[in-house]
Amino acid sequence: MLKDHAKIMQAFAAAGEIVGRKKLQKMIYIAKKVDFPFQERFQFHFYGPYSEELTLRVEELCNMGFLNEVKEKKGGYMQYRYSLTDEGMEFLNMNLVELPALEDCLTDMNSQNARFLELVSTVLFFDELEVEEVKEKIFTLKSKQKYTEEEIQQAYEYIESLKGKVVPV
């Protein structure tokens, strides 16, 4: 019960503070795509894979007092910081979810910038397409981000490095 909430909390316990809603969305999506058992469903939106379920779950965790949300102005927009509270940690200790290697993967993702994670998540969203088709999609759909061929190559390498860290459950 509340297992799906506990899994998201486990992600925060593993990653530490996560800055930015977009970054959080991309981290969970990438983790799910490399086989961590997150249940939230994602759809492609203008800015890449996005899950309304995840947004709602995070809001529930904030309302429960298990997650702390700090809203701050950054340039022309609002930025959100999330971290697990002591109450959240206590809940998690009673509802432990076994997710081997999650910490390693999420810590790594958290050290990347949101722009790169957006690229990685987009590559993963089109993972059934050939590489050339994926590039075409990125250059068309993400033209404003001006991703380069090198960055796309780095995204593929990064995905492989993450997959190498995942322990089959």
Binding site: M1, F44, Y47, T55, L56, R57, M78, T140
Partner: protein, 432 residues
């Protein structure tokens, strides 16, 4: 004449309780409506188990899909046509995507998808791109046309303006289902001035924007979404029915995996249980099939499956209490132990249901670009995000309301013919 341009000799009209008439003049649209994959949508209800709460809610995905098509047709033909920002070559693409946007929905959509980890959007893609009658019709337009339609529905098309017509925070999909669901449930929420909104929609670069003068009509639409969610979509009785439905499907799969011998073999479910469902198998599943099995399972030997099916078919649903996970999660653990001692498997008979279990997209101002917001077109030509101009929308998109309930079979807990003392303890904990 090219197939894409072909018109019917006489316009066909469908009587519709929401839009009065749905008009079809394009041969392609008429042919798509006649395909077996589109006709299947008659057998998938738009609101799943809501009919157990609001008895009128028997309308189908078929009705809704025609409604979305009609709204898009009116926007294009009555508002966008002739405007320099609108490319009329996108008309047929937009109409087809609107008509087919829900094609992949399965029986009792959300619960079914959740239990079996399926995605209706992926099936929509497979139906449009696979060996189907829908694909045959679209391919007659051009070889690439099925892919173009599929990409608009998947929101991965380079044509973002068409995507935003069909799927954005103010789109034809929502405008139809809010009004249609309000009509069939009989509630007084969900109504707004759609005609006004259509009149103030404008194509601008890669999205649809709303003229500033139409802001109050949009406020009404946002309020309707909010009220319909809490009063209809997330109604606690409907959620109870969803909880039982979900548990039936889980139980059936669990029994199958254990090698249980069903009295009546669920052959339609085998590939779903084995996680290798084909498009052919998927299209065979509709709500009539699912309910047939539920009726057969009312006589199964397995007591849990039998009980849950009888509950669902006879509408003897679980009761609920408000639940605060932050304060009561220790109590939940205690209850779980007591349920087991009382002979009630908590996996099936003690269920927490949260608002995130039925995702609903509250209006998001897109503060971190997570969703594209509704943009108002100001008189000076600038665009401004809706909640910056509207105090009502700003208030409603601020702090979110969330909700959790605990569901259980109150009738079994009140039956003192066995485990009397344990059940009394449970009742005390639940304040029954």
């Amino acid at each position: 004449m090219a197939y894409s341009q072909e018109k019917l000799v006489e316009e066909k009209v469908f009587k519709d309780p929401v839009h009065r008439y749905v008009h079809v003049r394009d041969r392609v649209i008429w042919d798509l409506i006649g395909t077996k994959e589109f006709q299947r949508l008659r057998r998938v209800k738009q609101l799943g188990t809501t009919y157990l709460t609001f008895h009128g809610a028997e309308h189908s995905r078929f009705n809704h899909s025609l409604g979305v098509y009609e709204i898009i047709r009116r926007i294009i033909d009555d508002v966008f046509d002739g405007r320099p920002e609108w490319n009329s070559e996108q008309r047929l693409l937009s109409l087809c995507a609107a008509l087919l946007h829900d094609l992949g929905h399965g029986p009792f959509s959300h619960s079914f998808e959740k239990v079996f980890d399926l995605d209706h959007e992926a099936f929509t893609q497979k139906i449009i791109l696979g060996d189907t009658q829908v694909n045959a019709v679209l391919t007659k337009v051009s070889k690439d046309f099925p892919k173009m339609v599929a990409e608009v529905i998947a929101k991965t098309s380079p044509n973002k303006l068409v995507i935003s017509l069909i799927s954005s925070q103010i789109d034809a999909d929502r405008m139809d289902y809010l009004q249609r669901d309000a009509y069939f449930t009989g509630v007084s929420y969900g109504h707004f001035d759609m005609e006004r909104i259509l009149r103030v929609m404008r194509p601008k670069e890669d999205q649809v924007v709303i003229k500033q003068s139409g802001m109050h009509a949009v406020e009404d639409y946002i309020m309707s979404r909010y009220q319909m969610y809490w009063q209809v979509y997330f109604h606690p009785v409907t959620r109870s029915a969803e909880v039982i439905l979900t548990k039936i499907l889980h139980r059936a799969k669990h029994l199958y995996k254990k090698g249980y011998q069903f009295s009546y073999e669920p052959i339609h479910f085998y590939s779903v249980f084995d996680e290798n469902i084909t498009l052919h198998d998927y299209l065979k599943l509709d709500e009539a099939v699912i309910l047939y099995y539920f009726q057969m399972w009312e006589e199964e030997e397995d007591a849990i499956l039998r009980d849950l099916c009888i509950r669902f078919m006879d509408r003897n649903l679980f009761k609920y209490v408000e639940f605060d996970p932050a304060k009561e999660y220790k109590k939940l653990s205690e209850l779980s132990t007591l349920f087991t001692k009382a002979g009630l498997d908590p996996e099936y008979y003690l269920v927490v249901d949260s608002s995130s279990d039925l995702p609903y997209d509250f209006y998001r101002p897109g503060e971190e670009e997570e969703r594209l917001p509704i943009q108002l077109l100001m008189k000076n030509g600038e665009v401004r995000e809706l909640s910056r101009e509207s105090q009502i929308v700003d208030a409603i998109s601020g702090k979110r309301r969330t909700d959790h309930k605990l569901y259980f079979p109150a009738d079994l807990l009140k039956d003192d013919s066995s485990k009397k003392n344990i059940k009394k303890q449970i009742r005390n904990l639940l304040d029954l």
